[in-house]
Symmetry: none
Subunit: 201 residues, 4 copies
DNA sequence: CATGAATGAGGGTTCATTCAT
DNA sequence: TATGAATGAACCCTCATTCAT
């Protein structure tokens, strides 16, 4: 009867986690607008009001999910990058690890567009912040690679942007009309475009 | 009293065009769902009911805009492609012409994502049709180029998809956080990724 | 070129009549609310604005049609009633003549209910006026018949009302779920209820 | 604090009942189309959205009210009819009980016409169902009475229809222009028309 | 005078958010 | 604290009426 009694048999349910997971799932599946708070509550198996004890608004709920995704990406990147190694080496190793979280990244992509369409300025700003983290890392790495003459002279910001978009296209956008690509296929095509170019040598 | 008389005073307002332009602008700026018919009416400077004299539903209005964009693209492609010339030649010539209509293509991109999230099956089908036109052309050209050994062996469908996404990224998505790129910049980066690759030779 | 010229070949179209006929048809077929001015204009083969040169509002158009119906009824009654003859004789003769205009009376019935539901006070008052004309006549006749001991003592107003409703039921309301009754069937049932009663003698 | 404590202060409001009553009132007073959900909400003293927690659409709200009315009628009929007794005996006993629910029956009548004019096919089907229940009962009874030679030979379906319409006319339609009739008056007139006939014997 | 394109008030419905329990 | 019934602003669409031509 006393949930806080010693030896509590039933571990208290982490309602916030339930909500976050349900929301992630629903946003991922149906998009931002099409996800109703009722739906999230039902999936999370909590009362609708409960959501509002953790998050002030639907938008804030969305933002927190987004931040989670990006912080995971950041951790991966920091773990995998080793400046002793060459650019493409790092790139493909990071890519490899990132692809483990593909499904979550899919969400990020799916929503980034939508948030721009619907979100309040706050939300849009949040989204921009998220992308910046990734783009900033890429930019830094690209600049470093140019400096060490590992890749051609180029506008590092644009190149970073294209690299990011390419990753997004292969891991997420492609799936909307086709079977998902294998990890292998994704890596090969990244290599084809980024490293070698299409033209026969 | 005679409208065709010399010095025609007030040119008659083309309300349908006004509506189409207003809708294009609003869809482009705020997305599909976030664009209300009230808003379109206000921007177009017409009564809300007026819109419904030209278009049965909001969705139909959207579809018509989309179809306009795609038919323009198609015309450009058909005009510019010349199989006597080599792949990259054609590619950059088409690209060059397409870039003239950049702002309209921006709309297309912006909406493609959203439509998938929200649209009715009809709308989604419309969007898929739009993209197919482009992707089909690209696929055909890529296959042709592989056959003539102008580009490396590769999965033409995936490569086409990436080419398309790259175009979209450079002409539209980039603008959300930066100043639009110049025609030159766009072409250079397409060349960098598609033709040469990033790696120093 | 001069429509009023002598020997005008093409008789000028009576637009008002066209409108009245079209409106009668549409009201009759679809009811008051479901009849749009667009529809009336189309059926009448005139511009929508033209209707408003004859009638200030949709309601006024409806009222005029109603008045036409009632004035026809009135004429019939006045022509057929002959106080030299007995009550039931007059009743069936009037009935017989009224049934010639059944289709128009159907309209009246159909609308009477609806007008009460939707109409402005003015419209409702118009409808009441229409019914009063008939009910007043019936009341007068019933009273006369009671006085001459042709029918039983009864509340003439209620009896008149029931007679009217019975006529309406047989000529109009029945048709909504069944094949229309023949003139004969209608007369027989009026006789059954009004003259003889159902009970076996 | 304890709702079940003695002297329960505020009885909990049954919002669904409030809505049903408000809707019944408004439908009854203004008809189906002229009743807006805003109005129902205002009369029921609830938010507009509240209605939609109980009923999916305006039509469903209407249907539920209708079904309630008809199921009440059915119960009465089943309770009062006793085939040991003669036709007119049963008729007047059922009538007597039905008249207790006069105000609800008024609604039914008022709407039956309108629904035919405006309703969706579903609604119309609902209305037909309602009337069928009554007409079927009447038809069966009339047939039975003819067989037992309690009433004259006649088309039982038409006679049933007229009986129904007469009931409607006396309990509902009369009230639109006059003071409601007393139970007594209604019964007397039913007897006059159905049993005895108007003609002096 | 005849026209029909233009209008905008008003309708049913959805859903993020609140708050009494 | 957790709940979900209640809320109402905001959406898309209809149609009687107006008015420039």
């Amino acid at each position: 009867m006393d949930k806080r009694g010693e030896g509590r048999i039933i571990p208290p349910v982490d309602r916030k986690k339930q909500v976050l997971e349900a929301a992630t799932q629903s946003f991922s599946l149906f998009g931002y607008k099409a996800t109703t708070m009722d739906q999230v509550a039902k999936i999370a198996n909590v009362g609708k009001g409960t959501i509002y004890t953790f998050f002030d608004t639907k938008e804030q709920l969305f933002d927190e999910i987004l931040l989670d995704v990006i912080s995971e990406m950041k951790k991966i990147i920091e773990r995998e990058v080793d400046h002793q190694k060459v650019f493409f080496d790092n790139l493909f190793r990071v890519l490899d690890s990132l692809l483990e979280f593909r499904s979550e990244h899919e969400l990020l992509v799916k929503l980034s567009q939508e948030v721009r369409d619907f979100g309040t300025p706050q939300s849009q700003e949040a989204m921009t912040r998220v992308e910046s983290v990734i783009l900033n890392y890429l930019d830094k790495e690209v600049k470093h690679a140019i400096l060490h003459q590992e890749i051609r002279e180029c506008d590092s910001e644009i190149v970073s942007f294209l690299m990011f978009k390419m990753y997004i296209a292969l891991t997420s956008e492609w799936n909307k009309i086709h079977e998902p690509l294998s990890k292998q296929q994704i890596q090969e095509h990244i290599r084809l475009f980024l490293e070698e170019g299409l033209a026969v040598q």
